[in-house]
Symmetry: C2
Subunit: 362 residues, 2 copies
């Protein structure tokens, strides 16, 4: 229904019902709820066009200035926010820089101020927010800081808040349009290796909030010592620092520039091989629809995705039939706020009330 109104506003309940294939009773319940939340508005009636004498029908549309979902990305050196309407379309976004590695209170204050400014300057109403997603760089913050995040946003904007790490929100954003998502195994190769799982259109948090930690799967019992204390984790081979060292280059720019040289190619083949084996094993367990590889390392050397894909396909051959789609991430590192919106859209009580809208194909 929301996507019908997104395409064309100013429809009567009867017109919407006919296009959705819903009964008028069901549709009236839904529109009543959406009107109460401020997600849609009555724009006019059809009194002028109407030939007969019956009561004029109200024409409904999405409220183009009513923010329903707020996404906030508190990165290492900048905050970014985005606001989406009831149809999950981003209607406003903005970013602000702060000094790298600013302390938590500073980042939080910057995020809240940015949202307030956006609302004021672009005339976005936040009175009917259904949910706020706050993505943070690195692992999900410890209980204390997490409580600060929740308090800062929940109290200021009176809406439920979801806090998680940006990588997991990115997994959700990669899983497809917020309405109609697919199962995704997502991995991100950066200074560390993080990942996320989307199953049935929802982010899998894990029992301890640690699902998707592909970086610490062991690929070589004799391998180098990992910062986690184990030996031979994927992160000791396929994160940015060991990949640069193996290729004999200083930084990602040099890596990208020299990626066709034999030594660099060989090093990146080893990265892709290790990554492919870990992803293949994970794919045997999860049977995902898509495997998405993101982060600055494959951005510098796109061939990593292709070569890892060959390894995965070879390992999955016996399963028969078409394997998962293996692809590079579509969204850049700046899209954390969009991922956070995806997270709160999926978890929204509005969608829970109407399972058919939740995009869960199961």
């Amino acid at each position: 229904m929301l996507s019908i109104l997104r395409e064309r506003g100013g429809l009567s309940r009867a017109q919407i019902a006919a296009r959705c294939g819903l009964s008028r009773t069901t549709l009236s319940e839904i529109t009543g709820d959406l009107l109460a939340r401020g997600a849609i508005v009555v724009v006019t009636t059809d009194a002028r066009e109407r030939a007969g004498s019956g009561r004029p029908a109200e024409l409904l549309a999405l409220d183009p200035r009513s923010g329903q979902f707020l996404g906030v990305d508190l990165g290492h050196s900048r905050a970014r926010v985005a606001v989406a309407d009831a149809a999950h379309e981003v209607i406003a976004s903005e970013a602000v820089a702060y000094p790298p590695d600013s302390p938590w209170p500073r980042r939080l204050a910057a995020g809240v101020e940015l949202v307030e400014r956006l609302s004021r300057e672009q005339g976005i109403t936040l009175a009917a927010l259904q949910g706020i997603g706050v993505g943070v760089a690195g692992p999900c913050p410890a209980d204390g800081s997490r409580a600060d995040v929740l308090a800062a946003f929940a109290e200021r904007f009176s809406a439920p808040v979801i806090v998680d790490n940006n990588t997991r929100f990115a997994a959700l954003a990669e899983s497809g349009d917020t309405i109609g998502a697919s199962d995704v195994l997502y991995v991100r190769l950066a200074d560390g290796i993080g990942g996320g799982l989307v199953v049935g259109g929802r982010l899998v948090p894990g029992a301890r909030g640690a699902a998707g930690e592909l970086g610490h799967v062991k690929i070589d019992p004799e391998g180098g010592l990992c910062r986690c204390g184990k030996r031979g984790c994927l992160e000791t081979v396929a994160s940015v620092p060991p990949a640069l060292a193996a290729a004999g280059v200083r930084d990602l720019e040099e890596l990208a520039a020299r990626r066709d040289e034999p030594r660099v190619r060989a090093a990146m083949d080893r990265v892709a091989g290790a990554l492919g084996r870990v992803l293949a094993d994970a794919a045997l367990v999860l049977d995902p629809e898509q495997i998405v590889i993101g982060g600055p390392l494959p951005h510098a050397v796109p061939a990593i995705v292709e070569r890892a894909g060959e390894v995965i396909a070879a390992e999955l051959v016996p399963a028969g039939g078409p394997g998962p789609l293996i692809r590079a991430a579509r969204l850049g590192d700046d899209d954390g706020a969009r991922g956070a919106i995806a997270a709160c859209c999926r978890q929204s009580p509005l969608l829970d009330d109407y399972p058919s809208l939740s995009g869960n194909p199961s």
Copy 2:
């Protein structure tokens, strides 16, 4: 609400509403639906106890003879069925043997006849069935046989049917009581190795219906040839035939009897080590609440579970905090019908209508 009625029948709507903390309007909607489905019945009114002159209130109870969920387990050599009421309690069950490896039509006919006999002899009504789960031995049957299963049960009993393999249904049954389930990674060591994942209280099917295939995770690139065509799969080490061969025994009985002898212990340590490494990697990806190890091999040598648990714990140490609970399966191989009931309870449209009853903690 159902668990309140399971504990004590003969309550009025007002009494139930007070105990559930639901509004009377919401409760009336739910009870109306349940009465229409035959899940609950009006047992009497409070007219005799009533002091005042108001209209007597109807007292409601679960219908103890009304089957709401039917579980069917079509094994290699016997069919087993179980019927549960609206509160997911098993109210009747029965099994019948057929010659090992009977063809599909024979197994299906045996299952349907068994259900009919159970209904007739124990006075169970099947008119209001909400769902039927049919578990089959081995991989989920191919499209043709699957259609036969669906047709045989759906047409005969006029209810939606879920077909899947028994191992996955067992994973669901192990994930806890049907109301209030936890995330489980389940593996079963038998002639082959199968597994299943439960996330957010629901079975994860996977994009191609192949989630949980832990048996074909590679543990040794130089290892023995697997029936899947790859080398060194977990199944080439930790399924029953290679485990018996490594221990130098003929069958599971002999294995159980000689499990404390050095050669057998050493062989089982290798099984547990390989299993532990595969489960540890899967646990890094999934972060489950519980890892459950079932099937005839750990049944014969329970120490496999303990030793695999030590390997998993060592691999997960860096994650910090308490790891997953690692335990032997609670339900035996005869509990497939119960798992099938768990599956259809979780997927039931009744529960989808009332998300708070679905047992999904997210």
